[in-house]
Amino acid sequence: MPQSNMNPPAASGMTPVRFITVNGEQHSPPEDPRTTLLDFLREQLDLTGTKKGCDQGQCGACTVLVNGTRINACLTLAIMHVGDEVTTVEGLGKPDALHPLQRAFVTHDGYQCGYCTPGQICSVIGALAEIDRGVPSHVTGDLSAPMITTRLEMRERMSGNICRCGAYSNIQDAIAEFVGEPR
């Protein structure tokens, strides 16, 4: 049976944190350290919004926010996130209280089958936070100027989210509506 020492170090005088916070709720990490964050969310917490596509970090369907930063939940172990705050699509909005970005996806039909949508939505939120922090992309002209949300920029920054139905143009429209005119 795999065993684990999951106590992260505590700063002196502090009790070690032993839980993973998901959408504001605290959870004990899984027993088996092999459990990916993706499997933990879907199979142990029943948060099935986050999807398993390739399970190899290629398709982006499993994108979640960890401490506000987007990552692929399939290429990380749940146990590595003790002490972190994870936000999934369920944490962004509810069916009766949609996040404005979710509403924009609905308005513009930013999907067909919908399988990639939760990852797309978390990825947009993460990408916008990166733009605010001055993170450049492959299509950024001047590295030192403030980053902007042009369609070209958003397209490149969203290249880690594959849509097998090819709803890209509607996804772009949804994003454009949400971000407004390029900042």
Partner: protein
């Protein structure tokens, strides 16, 4: 995935001690390469040492006028650092040409340098591969080799070093700083870090078993115009067929390194004098002795054309890189 035990360490010495003590132990940084390979059981560590809490996530100025990049600085944070953008833009450009936003957020500086190759047979556990199973043979030499190396290869392995950041670091002559379980530190030039396959393609770097990378040291800025041109099968999000990292000065001097063509970032200093002449001249020296396969012979002329395009951009008046 094979079973393993997991430990999250608070100090570098704790990490190297565990590496030295536990057979089959491995360090875990972002996990984006290691966990991918563990799912396929190409890597099967018995114990993972999670180093995320180590104080190695800072970028500091050095007394020499360069920068010291902690091993745990994420690819995103490195590409976004104001000093890097301003004085070492080839690093930012190389990073953002690779992987995706999600992966770059998780990927660490050291983990990126240590990422393993992308040869299709290395991933296909039903096929012989000397890197994965030493002595089993190389399926690529007579197989699908389009993406693989054209120079620096051996009869045992023709895999390419796939990363982008290391090509920029080789261009800048960065150094890798390490510490081992005995507390000994050493600094080695990146030129000596990745090795050619020879008879032992499974040994990819000069890193010793109980060694941990603490930082990457950049020498003072070189000035000049910086470029990273990555030629690939898609406009975004693919490994390089050929990449060119360059620092070019108005007097036509400069430095050139290539990615996607060799088992390590490929820089031949003697070729750089030929920048006065032409891209073809640089490439003919840098690729002297190349042994491409029929499928990847296109990479040599492609390298010349990619370099020619970089040189042409450098001569345009605009200063967009």
């Amino acid at each position: 995935m094979r079973a393993f035990t997991y430990q999250r360490v608070a100090a570098t010495a704790e990490a190297t001690a565990a590496l030295a003590r536990i057979p089959g132990a491995k360090l875990l940084a972002g996990g984006t390469n290691l966990l991918d390979l563990m799912k396929l059981e190409i890597e099967a560590p018995t114990h993972l040492i999670d180093i995320r809490d180590l104080d190695l996530a800072r970028i500091e100025d050095t007394a020499a006028g360069g920068l010291r990049i902690g091993a745990l600085v994420s690819n995103t944070d490195l590409a976004s650092d104001a000093r890097i953008k301003r004085h070492y833009p080839v690093i930012s450009r190389a990073i953002v040409s690779g992987a995706t936003g999600q992966l770059r957020n998780k990927a660490s500086t050291a983990g990126n340098l240590l990422q393993r190759n992308r040869c299709p047979y290395f991933y296909d556990t039903d096929q012989p591969c000397n890197k994965r199973l030493p002595g089993s043979g190389c399926s690529a030499i007579d197989g699908a080799s389009r993406g693989l190396a054209v120079i620096g290869t051996s009869s045992a392995c023709i895999a390419t070093y796939p990363g982008d950041l290391a090509v920029a670091l080789r261009l800048l002559d960065a150094e890798i700083e390490t510490v081992d379980a005995a507390g000994r530190t050493r600094t080695l030039p990146i030129a000596d870090f990745h090795r050619l396959p020879g008879d032992t393609p499974q040994i990819e770097t000069a890193l010793q078993p109980s060694e941990l990378i603490t930082a990457v040291i950049l020498p003072p800025p070189l000035g000049g115009r910086h470029f990273y041109l990555k030629v690939r099968d898609r406009a975004s999000y693919a490994f390089a067929l050929v990449s060119v990292a360059a620092v070019l000065h108005p007097d036509r001097t400069g430095r050139i390194a290539f990615g996607g063509v060799a088992p390590k970032p490929w820089r031949v200093e003697q070729a750089e004098a030929a920048l006065q002449d032409s891209a073809e001249a640089v490439v003919s020296i840098a690729f002297d002795g190349a042994t491409p396969t029929e499928q990847n012979a296109f990479k040599v002329p492609l390298a010349a054309r990619a370099l020619a395009s970089v040189i042409a951009r450098a001569r345009e008046s605009s200063d967009a890189v």
